[in-house]
């Protein structure tokens, strides 16, 4: 069906109506009369015809703007500073020189017994490892002053002496922890590996709920990672692979624990199980050998000869394989030949 005539007709009709529907225009005299209220009085929407709001009185007093003093430079600087910074009195202890002990907590954020436990742990680690583990403890909400650059601190304080791993730990916020390695180690261990070590320790710490438990978990895992870093420094490729293990996550940690348990079980029971399996295999082999070599005997009975046969008269079955149409099942009943012919 041809649609073009209808379409053309519709287009023309639309154009014609569009030309006819023009908007009305105001006569200036009418507009002036309406504004003055002389014509027609009030009618809805009349305020749209005016240029000014009809209810605003020109003589109404305008409120004066408030006199607010501009912020001083000190105030602007104060806004930029974090609210909870490490107290300036502790800066020297934290950042001035290489600390005497492995635990740096001038703010006494840890209780004495907790401090003693951590310090003992760090000392034990130092005894077992060639890499010292320096733990700087800050509050979870605190931030390190902007003047302190960790890289500069490491270069200045840990350039010489035993290799060290410096950890800025924020109590209750293990995810904010920072790890810096002394130059001797940092040259060997790639930043990626460093990050992995840190993330692995942080992951384990975040699995704990208490602040101190988090710190303990962190220290333990970091100590383990530092052990592998130490092995890596010795250049053992096997250990390099061990260090390069993927970052811990909870599932993987659980699976590795499971594996370790299995390995432990295997180590514990492996030899016995192997011995039992070997013995079983040996027994089975011997039994098979014995069966193959075994001789079978029958009791001998006195049998009356029959049909005149001196030695044998045991007539067994006869089977025909002349045709596939006659399976053995159909030949079970043995019949004399003359019956077959019949």
């Amino acid at each position: 069906m041809n649609r073009w005539p209808f379409l053309i007709f519709a287009a023309l009709t639309t154009v014609a109506f569009a030309q006819e529907a023009t908007l009305p225009e105001w006569d200036e005299s009418d507009r002036a009369a309406v504004r003055k209220g002389e014509k027609g009085g009030f009618f809805p929407g009349s305020f749209l015809l005016t240029d000014e709001r009809p209810w605003v009185q020109a003589d109404e007093p305008q409120p004066e703007p408030l006199a607010v003093p501009a912020p001083t430079p000190d105030e602007i600087a104060g806004d930029l500073q974090p609210e909870n910074q490490v107290p300036e009195s502790c800066w020297a202890t934290y950042f001035a020189q290489r600390p005497d002990g492995f635990l740096v907590d001038p703010q006494k954020l840890l209780k004495p017994e907790q401090q003693a436990a951590r310090l003992q742990f760090l000392k034990d680690h130092a005894g077992d490892s060639t890499i010292d583990f320096y733990l700087y403890v800050f509050d979870g909400s605190q931030s390190i002053p902007g003047e302190v650059r960790a890289e500069e601190l490491i270069e200045r304080c840990f350039q010489s002496g035993r290799p060290a791993a410096v950890v800025f730990y924020f109590l209750g916020s293990p995810e904010r922890t920072e790890l810096r390695l002394s130059p001797a180690i940092a040259d060997v261990v790639s930043p990626l590996e460093q990050r992995r070590s840190l993330q692995s320790s942080v992951t384990l710490a975040t699995e704990k709920s208490g602040k101190i438990e988090q710190l303990e978990a962190f220290c333990q895992q970091m100590s383990i990672r530092l052990y592998w870093v130490e092995r890596l420094m010795k250049g053992d490729p096997e250990n390099i692979a061990a260090v390069a293990t993927p970052i811990h996550d909870t599932a993987k940690t659980q699976s590795s624990e499971r594996k370790e348990k299995l390995f432990a079980l295997a180590r514990q029971w492996g030899p016995q199980a192997a011995a039992a399996a070997g013995a079983l295999l040996l027994l089975v082999s011997l039994r098979l050998l014995w069966k193959a070599k075994r001789k079978y005997r029958f009791p001998e009975f006195e049998v009356e000869p029959r049909l005149g046969g001196e030695h044998a008269a045991g007539i067994g079955a006869v089977i025909s394989f002349a045709s596939a149409a006659l399976p053995p099942g159909g030949q079970r009943e043995q019949k004399p030949e003359y019956l077959h012919r019949a």
Partner: protein, 214 residues
Amino acid sequence: MKCPRCVQKIHRAADGCPHCGFSLANVKVLFGGAEVRARSLTDAGGLIRLDDRPKVEKAMARFNRRFPQLFVAVHTGSFRGVANLRQFGFWLLNQGAFEDVPLVNPNEGGILLTIDAESKSAGITFGYRLDAFLTEEDTFLCLSRAHAYWLEGRYTDGIVRAIAQLEKILIKRSRQAWWNPKKFARRVAKPAQPDAGPRKMREGHRELRKEAKR
């Protein structure tokens, strides 16, 4: 126990078949009265290829090693009919002397597998030593196992398969006999005489009187 000619059941110690009168004398007329020398593997029917003979010999040797009181023999030939196949087996085990079988193994412990190349049938005959341990059903099972091979003309494989099945059955029977020999002894016990019961009673009474007199 059946007659090799009419395949009717016969008495344990029948001198001749009560149905058709068959005895060894009849079969001697058919196949000869003189004793014959044979080898345990005789392929007169030409069914076993020369290359395959060791396979069969190996299976036979294995059987003979496992059952020191027994031996297995295989004979192929043309016997002109199923009835003759049974009779030939009966005749050969009674008249034949197997040269390669040790003298300590008389034909009583022989199991003869005969295959008729002409009628394409096979049968098993066995000596008195196996009367208690081997039944017709057992031999049928052995032949059934070989049937598929023989149908395809694979005679060697069929023979080996039949011997293997025979081994399996006899191992089972040997174990059963070791545990319960009486069960098998009963199968071949001498048949009771018709007047044995009253005579025993009479003799028993006599014995009791003698004891009373003493």
